[in-house]
Structures are given as C-alpha cells and as structure tokens.
Amino acid sequence: MEISNIIDSLHPLEIKVLMTLSARQPAVALKSEELAIAAELEPSQLSMAVEWLLAKALIEIQAEIVTPVVSLTKIGEEYYQTAAPIERILASARDAAGTGKRLTIGDLQTQPGLDPSDVSKAVGRLKKEGVLLIIQGGCIETTGRSSPTAEALRPLLEEVHESSRELASFSPERQQLIEDYSVKRGNAKEPFRVDERVTRSFVLSPSGTSAVEQLMNQGLVEEVSQLSPELLKDGSWRQKRFRKYTISLRAPRVGTGKKHPYREFLDTVKAKLVSMGFQEMRGALVETEFWNMDALFMPQFHPARDIHDVYFVKQPTHAAMADESILSKVGNVHENGGKTGSSGWGYAFDLQRAKRLVLRSQGTAVSARTLAASPNIPGKYFSIARCFRYDQVDATHATDFFQVEGIVLGEDINFRTLLGLLNLFAHEVAQAKEVKFLPAYFPFTEPSVELHVRHPRLGWMELGGAGLFRPEVTVPLGVTAPVIAWGLGLDRMAMVALGIHDIRELFTDNLELIRTTRGLF
C-alpha cells in the first residue's frame, strides 16, 4: 500500500504512538510501559495501537526482554493478612515457654490452618537457625534466639503485596528467601510466585519514519471520524481530515418495512386484473348456504355440502333473511327449473337449509351476490376472497386460503369469448404462450373449461377453471345476459415465486423467514 494511503487510514491512537516514538531524539527504543506513559494511553489502547502499527510495519520490535517478576500467590496474600506458618510456630513456642506448658509437634499439627508439611518445613528451618530445640518426646523449646527468616519474611510479604516487583531489584539474601518460599513444580503451597514478564521495546521502522515525516508535513490537520453539524456550521471541516473506512466489511443488518411477499404477489395479480378492466368485489367471511351454494345451483344433497367439506357456524346457526323472495325463486329452480328452461334437480328445496350459516367455502359466493345486485352489462368483476374448507391441514391443503375469482357479463359472451378470456389470463398472469383447454365439471357452469398453460418456469400446469354460468344460476338472480365465471389457482405459482414447498408456509409465523423471503414475480 502507498504510504500516503496508510497515513490516511491511521487511527488517532496509532498517530499518537508514532508521534511519541519520533519525539525521542536521537531515536531510542521505548518499552511498552514507557510508551504508554509518554503517549498518555491506557495499556489496552496502547496494545491495540501497537498491534495495528506492527501489522502495517510502521514500527519494529527492537528487543524483547524477559524479566522475572515476583508476586504473591493466594496463599501469600493469606500469610500477609494473618501470619506465615513459621511466624505462628515461633509465637506458639514462645507462648509455651512463657507459660511453661509442654508443646509437641503433634500439638502444632492440630492447630487450625497448619498442616503437617507446613509444620515440618517451618520447624526444620527454625531448628537449623538454632531458634528451636527438639527434646525428648517431641517437645519443642525455644532457645531465645531470633529467627532471621521470620524477621525477613514479614517485610517481604508487605512489599510484594504492595506491588509485584522485578526479582533483580531485591538483595541477594532476599532473592534467596524468595526462591525458598516460591511456588515450584511439586510445591504449589508457597506465598511467592516468580513469573517471566516479556517486555518489548519499539522503534520506528524506516517506513514509520517516512510516515511521521509526511504526517508532520500535513501540518496540524486534526483527524476526525465523523462529520458533525458544528463542523459544517463554522466551516472548520476544512481544517480536518476524515479518516478512511474499510468499506469492504459486511454491512450490519437492518430491520426493514416491507410488504409480505405473498401479499405482494397477490397485489401484482390484483393490479393485472384492474388493468384488464376488472372491478373489485368484496364479500363476507360468513355466508348463508344460499349464497355459498344454493344460488350456484348446487343441490342441497350435493356431496360438497357435507359437514366434512364445509365449516358450519355455531351461533347463530341460521341467517335472519328479511326478503325470502329470492330464496323461493332459487328454490323453484332447484325443484323444477322455474323459468329458466331447466328441469331442475327435482327434489324438495329446504328454505331453512338455505339460511344455514357457513364459513365461505368458495369465492363464487361473492360473484353470486354481485349477480343479484344489478351488475353492469357489459361488466367484469373479480375478488381475492379468503375461503375455508374442512380439510386436514397438510403441505398441500390449508384450512383457509385465497381464491381469485370473478365474472364477466356481456351480450357477446359465449364459449369462444370464454376461451379468449382464458387466453388473456394465460398471457397476462402466467406469461404463458401455450395453452390447452380441457373439458371440466363445475356444478354452476356449462360448458366448463380447465385452463392448462405452459408456464415459463413450471412447465404444463393447471392455471384455472371457468365456464358459462348455467341459466339456473343467472336467471333467478335477475341476469339474462350470458356470464363467464372464472377462477385462477395461483397458489402453486405463488409458492414457486416465493421458493416454498409447503402451503402452510404462505402464512408462516417465522419472522426471519418473512424478512428474508424474496418474491420473484
């Protein structure tokens, strides 16, 4: 990297260290501690800056000095707070001498906090110094002499407790004492520990020197990390330098406001239908069997009206319909065809059954209501209606789902214009160029067609069903013009667009999944 680029990306801490090192003339190496003090940095800040500068080769390690350093162990701290075994044994022996009591080694070993190894080491040392005598029966007697060890140990504990110190700073005698009482392999129970501390000293590297020169040449331009309103207000940003960022890092995630991918898919369908001249219809989630089925000429004994196919409402069970004239008109058609030219189903229509409340099971219920409400002729209508089926929920069956359905009314409506409309859907909704029309069966249309298309990604698939409403449907609702009823099955397309394989995932509760699903429409 160019030295100027390196300079531009220097962190303020790094600059401080570089300047501190270059301030020593003639050039001398500085130890970490000295550097920290001179640069007025916390040890942690210094070590960060030093690592960065080493990585950029702006400074070099001149020497690594290994220094033995003495510190107290946990036991050493305890001895400092209370007393070392040697002190305690000496005190006990003097005490015994004063009172004339017998003191045996056994007595000492039973004192709390003293174990046999402590006792034997301390007694051994005192005996060697001629402070204690062991007489017959293991009894201990003092000679009245003082113990150099005990006397030297106390100040040593105090000094090292104060702060760790280099071993070399102690006199040879004290160094020997520390050696005797420090943790070694096989003897962890000692008050002192001698560690090797590595002290590094640093000097500027040649490129560090030239970096410093450039920094000096740039003058006293202060570096800032963030532009602020104050800097803009007084124009002082002109005297600042803006540190360069490492922009190749991964960006942190951000929570976005966005539409649900499935809803977005349905929005595109909605927009398509509006663009083709379709007017939106709305309907209720709770419907009468009348609008859900009877008006669609589904006989009351039709298998799809079974309790295993439709959800019935618990309370109230039946609708309070003020105007029953439409019921009896439709009822007549079921019974004998009424004025439609049909023979009807030939069974006794149950008016009460017609009022039974169900959860809407097909979007065509919305179309039936529209037919009865003086629709425009010519007219095109659609709805994206939530429907409910009494199905075991699995990967391909949802208990509630959207149906995209509608009607087209007009004097020019016939079987061929029905096929033309389906062609249009194939092109506009599925971008399909190839279509197939297959005979189909729906209780409310005749003729009926299934639309199969070759989808650009999915291959041949069923896109929808449609047909001409039977006169048994339209005539009693007051419509004499021919009417196309159509429905599109878009869930499979939606699932592919959203990259999911289980229909239940359309309504998933997994926020992470919703946030990260991209719709490819």
């Binding site: 406001g257 649900h260 309370q315 609708a319 007009g410 061929r416 297959l438």
Partner: protein
C-alpha cells in the same frame, strides 16, 4: 369426483367390443381420449397395467367405471350408439320381485335384473365391485339413497320379496363372517353394519330380500348373505338389485350396471317389480327401464352459446358421436340422452356435449371486445394506502390464517368474557386450533412474536385483513370488516412509540382522531386508549399486558394498535 382404478387390457377389450381382439393403445392416446369423459390420468403402473383415473363430472355416474369410459370413447370412434335391446324393446320379464307393504316408510324402491352369459373374470369382478362401491358411496350418498347387491343367480328361487322384518328375529351369515347372526347383531358388530347402520337408525323394522324358498339374500343397504351374495370368478349367471329412496336414481343405477354387464357380453333379462301401491312409474315397473325424455333444441341456441355457426348436420353428428339419439327438425334437433344418463336438465348441457364431442380445440378463442373500467373497492384502496404508510413507518407486513382458536383470540388476551372477546365459532370443529374466526388483529401478530424471539429486534409488524365481529343485528350474525393491526416489540418498546405511528397514519389518511383511556384487559391499565373519530370508537392502542405476554410466552415488551379501517371510512 371419484378416482377409479382400471386395467389397460380390460379397457382395450371394452373399446373394441367384447368379441374382437384387443388393439393396444398408447398412454398418450388414453390421456387424449379421457378428455371426452372429463377424466384425468392420475397414475399408470406399466407392470400391472393399472391406470388411476379421476372423473370430474358428478352428474355422470355412468362414467365412473371402465365400461362407461370405454363406451363413450367407443361411440365416438364408431360414430354410433351400441344397441341395448333390453332397455329399448318391450320384453316380457320371466322373474318377479314383490315389494311388500310398509317399505315406503324405510327404503321404498327396488330395481333388479338378471345377467347371463358373461363369465366373470378376476379383473371383471374387481371392476364390478369398484363400480358397486363408487355408485353407492358417491352417487348413492354413502348408500343412503342407493345401494347395490350382486348374487349368484342359480341359487335364487323367484319371486323374490322385498319386505320388513324385526332385526332381532331374522338371521343369516353375512359376507365377511363365519357364523349366522341376527340383523341386530350385524348392525352392532359387522364393519358394514357399524359404518352404514346410521341409515336405518330409529327404524323398528328393517328391509330384507328373501327368495321364494324362504332364503335370505341380503339386508340392504348393509350386507349380502354369504351363501347367495358372494359372486366369484367363473360365475356366469348373476342377479343384480338396487334398493333406495329415490326411484329415478334407483332405476338409473340399475341401467348403468346392466349396460356395463351387457358391454362385457352378458344378456340382460329384465325383472318386473310389483309394488303394493302406485309409484311415480306405476304399480308394476319392469327394470332396467328407459326413463329418457326427449328435448327439442333450436340450432341457433347452440350456435349462440358456442359463438360459432355449425349448422344442423354438424350438431346432429356431434351429438350422435356422443351417444345421443337425434332427429333433425326444421332449424332444431330433437334429442334423447342414452338410457344410462339422466343429466339433461337444460339446453346448456347439450351445448357442452356438442363442444366436447367436437373437441374444445375445434373452437378458436375470441377476445371479449366490450370495454369495461377496472378498479378497486373503496376499502381496498384505503387498506392499500394504510399498508403503504405502515411500510414507510418501517413495519414488516404479516399475513395470517383467519381461522384460529378462542384461546389465541380471546383467552390469551384476557378478554374471554368481555364484549371484545366474542367470536364467530365453528359448529363442526375438526381441531380446536381452527375453531373460530378472528375478531381483531393483535393476536395474529402476537402469534409471530411468540415464534420469533430469535429474529433480531426491534420487531415492527403489521397486518391488514378481514375479521368477523359478531353482531346480532346483521343478516348473517356477524360483520366482516377490514382491520389494520400493528405491534412493536423490543426491550424498551413504549406507548409513545406506537402512538407516534398511529398519529402519522391518521395524519396521512386525513382523519382527526383522539384517544380516550379505557380499561382493556389485554393492555396495561392506564396505558391503553380507545381510538375515537367523532366520538365513535374504531380501535384500541396501548402497551400489552405482561400477563398476556406470559400466556403467549413472549419475553419482550410489546405495544400495539388495532384499527378498524371499515369503520374509519364509515363502511361498517
């Protein structure tokens, strides 16, 4: 929509007629032919030759079998109808079934015939049984309106009587059992008795078929006798009966069954059924019976519906290719369905058959040319606008099931017994988790919160959609309204944060609102408010009560609002 299994070689032999050699056909050819019968090939096992076929038309029970499918295709290929003399010619039946008085109370009608000369093969037997089951199950509403029995003819002495007996006093060995049992026992322990016994629930007397030698044939609609009613491979003389509650359906079922047997080479011998009282078909009914009525259809009606000029000749040929009997009149045709069909209700039914017989590919699509203006409903426009604003406010849109549980929508929300807790409930519950409609939106969003504690915070979620609010004043007992719900969840989620969002929303929707404190159990007291426009409450806002969060097992503060958009625009 039944799905049936047929055997390809059996199908091929039925296509060419029973007495000629098979011509193997390709699967692609089969698939194309299936268009004629609204069938779809669902599976094919090349090793066994089994084909799974789904039939769509619930008004064409004659097509729910191998014989019927083959017949429709055969007629199209041969351009003429197979003759069924037993249906069209007057014959003097030799055998008789006597219907005793009282049957009208339970299961009034019976139709029957004999079939001789077709030696039952194993594949043929499988088809007979499948047809018997599909017709009784789907067309016969799980045997309620129609059920079928097949017997070994030589074991039966005529006349057969159809009569009522006490279920505890009559006994025979049913199919599938080793020992003699009473009819009452069959209802209790025989699998078919358990399955279909409900049809006879409440009847003190139940129907049986008995022959002149006092032998019991069956206990319709439950089970046949094992001695007489177990047809086996190799049998070549059969007795078929259909019983039920709807005479035209009973007769049609026998017509279909006898036509199928005739297609396999049997000679059908009609049987006379003698009722104690007059039926809609008379007191003495010979079955199978042709029930067809003819219908005159003007050619322009067909042409107008199809959008294509065809002419009388083309229409006549198309219908004959589809099995109709057609006589051409002046500008019209007089048509009669084949005797195994009964689905001609309206001219439009004939129109579809013309189109299917010619093939849908024969019709060129034409675009509807009339101009219409597209557009969205007012509520959808408002909902879309609100959704855009919520997205702009940084909320992620959610979409949920509307069908859920009272526990989620009310129980967890601490509003079980309150005015807010009422829901539209399902009567025929399948699982409690899908047993009522949501009446507000907040629980749908808490559902996400409960499942998404590992998704990074803050969470800002919204959903706009339909709810059902119980309302006795409404025709269907509830109002469907569009509601916007929103929640914010993070460690310091706060009332004022969600309030700011609501405030911004109202500003851009151009509505004045105010908040009025309300004690609502779902929210912390003193931190919840009704959203009012012109003193009308249209929603609620507040900090979710910690007990609600505990019940949902949500370990993060949540603030929320629920705003009724339908009421906002005065469309409630």
């Amino acid at each position: 929509m039944p799905t049936i299994t047929i055997f390809k070689d059996d199908f091929e032999s039925l296509l060419t007629g029973a007495r000629t050699t098979n011509r193997p056909v390709s699967i692609e050819q089969v698939e194309e032919w299936l268009m004629l019968v609204k069938g779809e090939l669902k599976g094919h096992n090349p090793e066994t030759g089994e084909l799974r076929v789904e039939l769509q038309d619930s008004n064409r029970p004659d097509l729910w079998c191998c014989e019927g499918i083959a017949r429709q295709i055969r007629i199209k290929q041969q351009g003429k109808m197979t003759p069924y003399p037993f249906l069209t010619e007057k014959v003097k039946p030799k055998a008789k079934v006597i219907v005793k008085p009282g049957m009208e109370q339970v299961r009034p009608y019976v139709a029957a015939c004999a079939a001789r000369g077709y030696q039952v093969t194993s594949k043929g037997l499988a088809q007979l049984i499948q047809t018997q089951e599909k017709l009784a199950e789907i067309f016969g509403h799980k045997r309620k309106t129609v059920s079928i029995g097949i017997y070994q003819l030589p074991k039966i002495t005529f006349p057969v009587t159809y009569e009522l007996v006490k279920p505890g006093e009559t006994r025979f060995t049913p199919l599938g059992m080793e020992t003699v049992m009473t009819l009452a026992e069959m209802l209790m322990v025989h699998p078919k008795g358990v399955e279909y016994g409900g049809i006879l629930a409440g009847a003190n007397l139940v129907p049986i078929l008995r022959d002149a030698a006092n032998q019991l044939l069956s206990f319709p609609p439950i089970i046949n006798s094992r001695e007489v009613g177990e047809v086996q491979v190799g049998d070549d003389q059969l007795f078929v009966e259909v019983t039920g509650t709807d005479l035209p359906m009973v007769v049609l079922t026998l017509n279909i069954f006898s036509t199928n047997l005739a297609d396999r080479g049997a000679t059908i011998e009609p049987i006379i059924v003698e009722y104690s009282k007059r039926t809609s078909l008379g007191k003495r009914v010979t079955t199978p019976k042709d029930l067809r009525k003819s219908k005159t259809i003007p050619i322009p009606t067909i042409e107008h519906a199809l959008g294509q000029e065809l002419g009388i000749k083309v229409v006549k040929q198309a219908l004959e290719d589809y099995g109709y009997e057609v006589s051409a009149g002046k500008g019209s045709v007089r048509v009669k369905l084949p005797p195994y069909r009964q689905d001609l209700m309206h001219t439009m039914d004939v129109v579809e058959d013309v189109a299917m017989s010619r093939g849908y590919a024969e019709f060129t699509p034409v675009m509807p040319a009339q101009f219409t203006v597209g557009g969205l409903s007012r509520i959808e426009q408002v909902s879309d606008r609100a959704r855009e604003l919520m997205v702009g406010l940084g909320f992620q849109e959610i979409i949920s099931n509307i069908l859920g549980s009272p526990e989620q929508y009310s129980g967890h929300m601490r509003i079980d017994e309150t005015e807010w807790g009422q829901t539209v409930k399902v009567d025929n519950v399948m699982t409690l988790s899908f047993s009522c409609l949501r009446q507000w939106m907040v629980p749908s969003l808490l559902r996400i919160e409960a499942a998404s504690s590992r998704a990074f915070y803050p969470h800002r979620l919204f959903e706009a959609g339909d709810v059902a609010i119980p309302d006795a004043a409404h025709e269907v007992g509830s109002r469907t309204e569009t509601v916007l719900g929103a929640v914010i969840a993070h460690a310091s989620a706060h009332f004022s944060e969600i309030h700011s969002c609501l405030d911004t929303l109202f500003y851009h929707l151009g509505k004045e609102y105010r908040l009025e404190p309300v004690p609502h159990p779902s929210f912390l007291e003193g931190r919840a408010g009704r959203i009012l426009i012109e003193d009308k409450a249209i929603g609620i806002i507040g900090e979710i009560h910690p007990e609600v969060l505990e019940r949902w097992q949500i370990a993060m503060p949540v603030v929320a609002f629920d705003l009724n958009l339908s009421q906002l625009i005065g469309q409630a």
